[in-house]
């Protein structure tokens, strides 16, 4: 770089004649004297900062913990128990056979009153919905619009059949979760509503209302659930929920909601069609019934974490105060502060 070498060898005589003063213009900016706040971490600031973090965090922590406590959650792992003992360890044979009876009846006790809406989730474990091959194996174009039906480049090996392209194509759709749950309370069927379980933007903009399933699960390996060919994709909410891939290998997905309050100690009977194969990769399946609070599901972690950090901050604040009281050292005393050794001259 050669900055401003204008006053070098090639100064033109006319420029020299003009003789503009080259004096830099004074301004606070060019002289680097802009008004600035120069905070340093004084005792006061440090203590104030810690105290305020504590003071803000502890109430938030308490509030979220309290909210979390009010959430009632029933978790039932059924993948093991729903395999008849006759199959012993050969769970894979059981789940892959089309002959076996997949129905499984579970009974759940409501621990506390659950106010509607009660959300029904299935939780899968060790299922890598975030695997790159899996995440990319879809065609957003095809899902959105009929016009892009043949746009199945990324969907291999679930892209085409002899009869034409698969709609919806790709591994995600192909492996759609196909366990079903039926709920009844004292032999009275509890209606499971699927309304509003998918994000609106998905239904409106990502899944087309003119796109109908085609050639789906029709040949070769059958992955998961089949789709009703007469319902457009924008209304296939289970598919829409499933296709928002989870971030982590343990995830829940909304199955539906029960819009009836449940009282404590009521027993719910769940009829599960245990179709989905998690046995081959050792994943768990859980059925989750949960209410929500203002910030979501049952999550003690956030509350506890808030309290911990808040407490820690207060502790730090108190330590600093104590240090100040016990050891009120004059600040900036060089004899205590010195830690730089000028080298060179003394040796």
């Amino acid at each position: 770089m050669d900055l401003g070498s204008t006053d070098g060898a090639s100064e033109s005589p006319s420029a020299a004649a003009k003789k503009h003063s080259k004096k830099p213009k004074y301004s606070k900016f060019t002289q680097q004297e802009l008004p600035a706040c120069k905070p340093i971490l004084t005792h006061g600031w440090v203590i104030t900062a810690f105290v305020s973090v504590g003071v803000i965090f502890i109430p938030i922590g308490l509030a979220s913990l309290f909210a979390s406590e009010r959430v009632v959650e029933i978790v039932d792992r059924y993948d093991k128990d729903c395999v008849p003992s006759t199959y012993g360890n050969d769970t894979l044979a059981y789940i892959q056979s089309t002959q076996t009876n997949k129905t499984c009846i579970r009974s759940l006790t409501v621990p506390k009153q659950m106010k509607s809406p009660i959300y029904i989730y299935y939780q899968l474990d060790n299922f890598y919905q975030n695997h790159r091959r899996y995440v990319n194996s879809r065609s957003d174009e095809q899902l959105r619009s009929k016009a892009y039906e043949f746009d199945t480049d990324d969907c291999d090996p679930e892209s085409n059949t002899d009869k034409g392209p698969i709609v919806p194509c790709g591994l995600i759709a192909w492996s759609l979760f196909n366990d079903t749950y039926g709920f009844s309370l004292q032999n009275k069927v509890l209606q499971v509503s699927k309304k509003g379980i998918a994000w609106k933007s998905d239904q409106k903009h990502k899944f087309g209302s003119d796109v109908y399933p085609k050639n789906f699960q029709s040949s070769g390996l059958i992955g998961g659930a089949k789709l009703n060919k007469s319902i457009p994709l924008s209304n296939q909410v289970d598919l829409i929920v499933w296709m928002r891939t989870a971030a982590l290998p343990t995830f829940r997905k909304l199955y539906g909601k029960i819009e009836v309050d449940l009282e404590a100690n009521q027993k719910i009977t769940v009829v599960i069609q245990n179709n989905y194969n998690t046995y081959s990769f050792g994943g768990k399946k859980k059925l989750v019934l949960s209410t929500t609070s203002w910030f979501g599901g049952k999550n003690d972690f956030l509350g506890i974490a808030y309290l911990t950090v808040g407490g820690l901050s207060l502790f730090m604040a108190i330590s600093f105060i104590l240090l100040y009281v016990v050891k009120p050292r004059p600040l900036g005393d060089p004899s205590l502060l010195w830690n730089i050794n000028p080298v060179g001259h003394s040796n």
Binding site: V46, Y121, R144
Partner: protein, 1196 residues
């Protein structure tokens, strides 16, 4: 008219041309042969013969690129950098199916970064181009035929054109001088742009062409010049001219070089010989050596380190990925059936798991590329350019008198300015003004002049005479001297005994008269009479010469007119007491040169007496005195020694009367010698002059002060307090050098001087015997012995904190710099507080610089102003040129140019410290933010079975470095200040932070990296734990990949920006704007990006509006994660600031608590720096006080 009078002069009589008359012997026989093939048809550039020669035009271009080459060439430059090349490779790979993200998102940031750098390059080149255009479009008068001259642009000149150059114009090309406004066709040339020398050089045309003094003469002028091919040698030129059917040899004497300037001559005519790229000055221009700062070199190492980390992470991931992929298909049963391992592409195929792992490795290398900050180089470059602008704009480094601001010619070395360990300084023109002042003289054994020199003041201080108390008072005296500058430049003499004509009453008034007359006659200066005021000013070759003539004028002997054969004075007649005009016939000038060390003139006065007037160095003059001329020898010698002791330059003045016969004999011999062309011409001239310059009668001696520049002692003191070592490398005599050393407090009483020279009797005896081998051997032994002894002394007293000074002369330096001795020498030198090398040649200066640089492995800074410092400036890590009086040579080869030595204080202690701090913090922070970001990506990988699925949307990834986090870093790099300029100067020891490199030590770098690691872990795991797997909002929806990704990204942007806010200590509005602006920009981007159709925004579609913003979880998690991630650093910093503050921290405390107004308190902090300091005047005062207290204790 002045010009008319000038025209009559015949200067060739004054100057003895060194080259005399050229002949066709030697080089000239080669004309026409290889290397000497140029043919120039003068005055017919358009002819057919000339056209087929096809010489280059006079268009010059200093640009790096042309329109056509810009793209490929600058791209090549960019991708020579490893990091950029890496990004190019990943960018290309992004177009393959290997890519974990979309190709455009990977290429765009690279495109932006490379684009920004190229735009910068382009602008710089454009500026150079404009400068070129300015030069190329200068006007010059060219012969168009029929004796008519017209203006044309420089670029249109062709070889063979006849041009007319007028006074004070630059020569447009290398010209052959044909004739000038002077009858004898001489002209004066200033070659400042070529060699930095300000004195005028004389050129003379051939006699054959000297009559062509009118435009009309050129109507039918024709000549054929044959000469050497273009080359870079400024001082040689071989050629011949065929003119009117006669051959004439040409020499450098006829060649006028491009970029030199015509002075004191009304006009010249010349023929263009070399144009454009062929001219000697352009052939000579070499690119300045490109220097890179230590920090940048270290930064490269960090980048390599990060590459290793990257490869390691990728490797770990690939191995894990390979294993899991392999496991997916066992004997035909699929484990993760949803991935269809039975029917997979090569990238995920369990049957070819090793291959998949290898491909994955490439993908991972691309994905983790966010560990390497792509915008690092371009940000640093932008920052450095802005920093240089601040340096250039500093009003405190602007020198009013010369109208020169500081000029950072390269911005590569800004931060290096903050790490200087040793300064190697030139003396003349750097520490001293190179303006000589006539201050004392000794006439007829009587000393005149009351002036007190800087050196004498220093000596007075040194001898412990009354001294103003403390530092402040000391400064005052320094200021006083600068204010009380003499009104007449070059004259600082005060003695009423001889001023105002009072000398007539002195006992030896006739000697005084002769003395003053000699001063007025014996020189080569040219007077310039101001027409209006009648005042006379002088143009002289050297400032001391001017000082003499001025002194003579002020003392009543006014030299006002020089003709070719005479010198005219107004002088005071002691008898009548009136001013009378006297004319002295000038017969010969015996020039000064370094071996003769004297100059003489021979004149005939009005009474017809022949006088030889001579002045010279004491070493040559005293031995030439006649027996009857030694009347005042003893006193004069004494005075001369006194003057030398006071740091003054002395000259001895003497004269003799010649008889006609003597002169006639001399003149014959001298003329013959001058006109001879043989190799021993010089020797013949010397011999002739030797014979006449003897039996002189002593008149007296003069003393001229080489003035210290303003503020030099204060500056040196500050630099010493900052712990910077200062070496002085000078060509001066040892005595002068030592005197200057005392004057600027590099030496003081109580300092043990180790003097290494070869002035031992044994060597002197050998020198007489002229046995070179023996001299060399003995000298070497002697030097080795002296160095060893010195070393022993230094080691012996290492505990007693005795300060040592090393003074070594050039002759000894020759041996000390030999390979087997130089390390010992360096050890000794490093052990001494100050080092002075005197009588050193330019090459030795460069060698010493290299020795210090290579030997200590610390940053060296060389500062100098003359052409003789160029080697030193280029050798040192940083070369500072003083843009003073001695021309541009030093400035042109320097990295940063300042106008005065004292500005070094601000340049180093303020700008250097700031830049060092800024750049090192900036780089640390860059790595921090990229490690934070890159590791969250990695940690997410670990939870996605290392399938290389990015946690974030493609465009989040690629804009991280470019938009959301880069502006605050740049703001920090440009504006941050740990303490203000005032405090930087008040507590110079702060500078040691840079010298010891505490802000860019591996500890600190790794500390920041560790901070990044912690932050990444905190962000990732807290986000993971608080978002998964339960419902994310009250509608029971769960957080998918897009929500987790966006939340995590938000946390990263917040944390990284807040971390910046914690790290900087100077918040202007700009910082606020950039830091909070960066965060705000992220939200805006998220909004805007989410609003465009899902086709483009993919997973980010409406993610903020629909999912994140309405959910309290998102906000709670953000606040929580951000605060938690910052707490470790905050605690660390509070504890450090509180209990182990660094030096700048302490100063911040002082400022904060307002202790700065409490002098005692400040002293306490400063005390530390004083205690360890051994040079500078504060150390001197401290040493004196210590002595006083010691004495007091001893008595008590």
């Amino acid at each position: 008219m002045r010009t008319v009078r000038r025209k009559k002069l015949h200067f060739s009589k004054i100057y003895t041309f060194r080259c005399g008359r050229a002949s066709f012997k030697g080089d000239h026989s080669q004309i026409g042969g290889p290397g000497f093939s140029r043919v120039v048809h003068c005055n017919e550039p358009g002819s057919f013969e000339a056209a087929i020669l096809n010489y280059v035009g006079n268009y010059v271009s200093s640009t790096k690129y042309t329109l056509a080459t810009f793209l490929p060439k600058s791209l090549f430059e960019q991708f020579r950098r490893v990091a950029n090349f890496y990004f190019l490779v990943t960018g290309i790979l992004a177009f393959t199916p290997l890519a974990p993200y979309s190709a455009v998102s990977a290429i765009l940031p690279l495109f932006l970064v490379i684009g920004a750098t190229m735009v910068k390059e382009g602008i710089e080149d454009w500026r150079r181009r404009q400068q070129d255009t300015g030069v190329n479009n200068r006007k010059v008068k060219v012969h168009f035929g029929d004796g008519a001259f017209e203006q044309t642009e420089w670029k249109n000149l062709r070889v063979g054109d006849i041009v007319k150059v007028e006074k004070d114009e630059f020569f447009p090309a290398d010209l052959l001088l044909l004739s000038s406004s002077y009858e004898d066709a001489v002209c004066y040339v200033e070659t400042m742009n070529l060699d930095g020398e300000t004195n005028l050089k004389l050129k003379q045309a051939l006699e054959a062409t000297s009559s062509l003094q009118e435009d009309s003469n050129f109507g039918d002028f024709k000549a054929l010049v044959k000469c050497e091919d273009p080359n870079a040698n400024l001082y040689s030129f071989v050629g011949s001219m065929e003119f009117e059917e006669q051959q004439y040899p040409l020499t450098p004497q006829q060649l006028l070089l491009r970029d030199s300037k015509l002075r004191n001559t009304d006009y010249i005519y010349g023929a263009v010989i070399f144009t454009g790229q062929d001219t000697k000055v352009i052939q000579n221009s070499t690119d300045p050596p490109s220097k890179r700062s230590r920090i940048e070199k270290k930064m490269d190492k960090i980048i390599y380190f990060l590459f290793c980390v990257l490869v390691m992470l990728s490797f770990i991931g690939s191995v894990y990925f390979g294993i899991t992929t392999n496991d997916d298909l066992e004997n035909g049963t699929m484990k993760r059936w949803y991935l269809r391992p039975d029917n997979s592409t090569i990238f995920f195929d369990p049957k070819r798991a090793p291959a998949a792992a290898v491909y994955h490795f490439l993908t991972a290398v691309m994905l983790y590329s966010y560990l390497i900050p792509i915008s690092l180089y371009v940000s640093i470059e932008i920052v450095k350019v802005l920093q240089s602008i601040f340096i250039n704009q500093d009003v405190h480094m602007y020198y009013e008198e010369a109208d020169k601001p500081a000029n950072a010619r390269t911005s590569n070395l800004n931060e290096e300015l903050g790490q200087v360990d040793t300064i190697l300084s030139d003396k003349t023109g750097t520490l001293t003004c190179n303006s000589m002042e006539f201050i004392k003289c000794s006439v007829a054994g009587t000393a005149y002049g009351h002036g007190v020199t800087e050196v004498e003041k220093a000596m007075a201080r040194r001898k412990g005479s009354p001294l103003p108390n403390g530092l402040e008072a000391d400064k005052d005296t320094a200021k006083d001297t600068s204010v009380a500058k003499s009104l007449i430049k070059g004259f600082n003499f005060e003695d009423e005994r001889i001023m105002n004509g009072n000398w007539v009453n002195e006992p030896h008034s006739y000697v005084v008269q002769k003395f003053l007359r000699l001063l007025a006659i014996c020189h080569t200066a040219i007077p310039e009479v101001d027409e209006e005021t009648g005042k006379v000013s002088y143009e002289a070759e050297s400032p001391d010469e001017a000082a003499f003539v001025i002194a003579a004028r002020e003392l009543g002997f006014e030299f006002y007119k020089r003709t070719q054969t005479s010198v005219s004075l107004h002088e005071l007649d002691p008898v009548s007491g009136k001013k009378i005009d006297r004319l002295y016939g000038l017969l010969n000038v015996l020039e000064f040169n370094s071996s003769r060390k004297r100059m003489s003139v021979i004149v005939r006065d009005e009474e017809g007496k022949l006088l030889l007037l001579s002045k010279g160095a004491d070493s040559v003059m005293f031995e030439r005195l006649a027996k009857n001329g030694r009347e005042f020898e003893e006193e004069t010698r004494e005075h001369v020694n006194e003057y030398a002791d006071a740091g003054l330059r002395t000259l001895i003045l003497a004269y003799r009367e010649l008889t006609e016969e003597e002169y006639k004999a001399f003149n014959e011999e001298f003329t013959e010698a001058k006109n001879s062309v043989s190799a021993d011409r010089e020797a013949l001239i010397d011999e002739a002059t030797e014979k006449i310059e003897k039996d002189l009668i002593l008149l007296g001696a003069t003393a001229v002060e080489d003035k210290l520049q303003n503020g030099v002692p204060e500056c040196i003191d500050k630099l010493a307090q900052a712990g910077i070592k200062i070496w002085v490398l000078t060509g001066d005599k040892m005595e002068t050098a030592i005197n200057i050393g005392f004057a600027c407090s590099l030496l003081r009483q109580g300092m043990k001087q180790i003097i290494i020279n070869l002035e031992t009797p044994k060597i002197k005896a050998l020198e007489k015997a002229e046995d070179k081998l023996a001299i060399a051997k003995a000298s070497k032994e002697s030097v080795l012995q002296q160095i060893s002894e010195g070393k022993a002394q230094v080691t012996a007293s290492s505990e007693s904190s005795q300060a040592f000074a090393l003074i070594i002369d050039g002759k000894s330096l020759v041996y000390a710099l030999e390979d087997d001795m130089k390390n010992l020498f360096l050890e000794l030198a490093v052990g001494c507080a100050s080092v002075i090398c005197c009588r050193s040649s330019p090459k030795q200066k460069a060698l010493v610089t290299r020795l210090v640089k290579a030997g200590t492995r610390k940053t060296t800074l060389a500062i100098g102003d003359g052409a003789n410092d160029v080697g030193m400036l280029q050798e040192a890590d940083i070369g500072i040129g003083i843009s003073g009086v001695e021309g541009m040579q030093a400035v042109m080869s320097s990295d940063i140019a300042i106008a005065q030595f004292r500005f070094l204080e601000r340049l180093l202690l303020v700008h250097g410290h700031w830049c060092y701090r800024r750049i090192s913090s900036m780089i640390c922070y860059f790595f921090y933010k990229n490690i934070t970001f890159g590791l969250t990506v990695f940690l997410y990988e670990a939870h996605a079975s290392f399938s290389a699925q990015p946690a974030y949307n493609d465009w989040f990834l690629s804009f991280y470095n470019v938009f959301f986090t880069s502006l605050p870093v740049i703001a920090m790099g440009v504006f941050d200040q740990d303490v203000s300029a005032r405090f930087c100067l008040k507590f110079p020891l702060l500078y040691q932070e840079g010298v010891q490199n505490v802000l860019f030590s591996w500890r600190r770098i790794l500390g920041w990296m560790f901070n990044g690691l912690c932050t990444a872990i905190i962000i990732f795991f807290l986000c993971k734990a608080s978002l998964d797997p339960q419902a994310f909002n009250r509608n029971g929806k769960v957080a998918g990949l897009e929500i987790v990704g966006a939340t995590m990204y938000t946390c990263v942007v917040w944390v990284v920006n807040c971390q910046m806010a914690l790290a900087i200590s100077y918040f202007t509005l700009i910082q606020h704007l950039f830091i909070w602006g960066g965060v705000a920009l992220w939200y805006l981007f998220l909004l805007a990006y989410g609003a465009i159709p899902p086709r483009f925004s993919t997973t980010a579609y409406k993610v903020f509006v629909e999912c994140l913003a309405p959910s309290p979880s998102f906000w709670l998690v953000t606040i929580f994660v951000v605060i938690s991630a910052l707490i470790p650093y905050f605690s660390y910093k509070s504890i450090q600031m509180r209990f182990f503050p660094m030096y700048h921290g302490m100063i911040q405390w002082i400022r904060h608590e307002g202790h700065c107004e409490d002098p005692e308190y400040c002293n306490m902090v400063r005390q530390r720096s004083l205690r360890s300091q051994t040079v500078g005047f504060t150390a001197r005062i401290a040493a004196r006080n210590n002595r006083v207290t010691d004495r007091f204790h001893n008595h008590g």
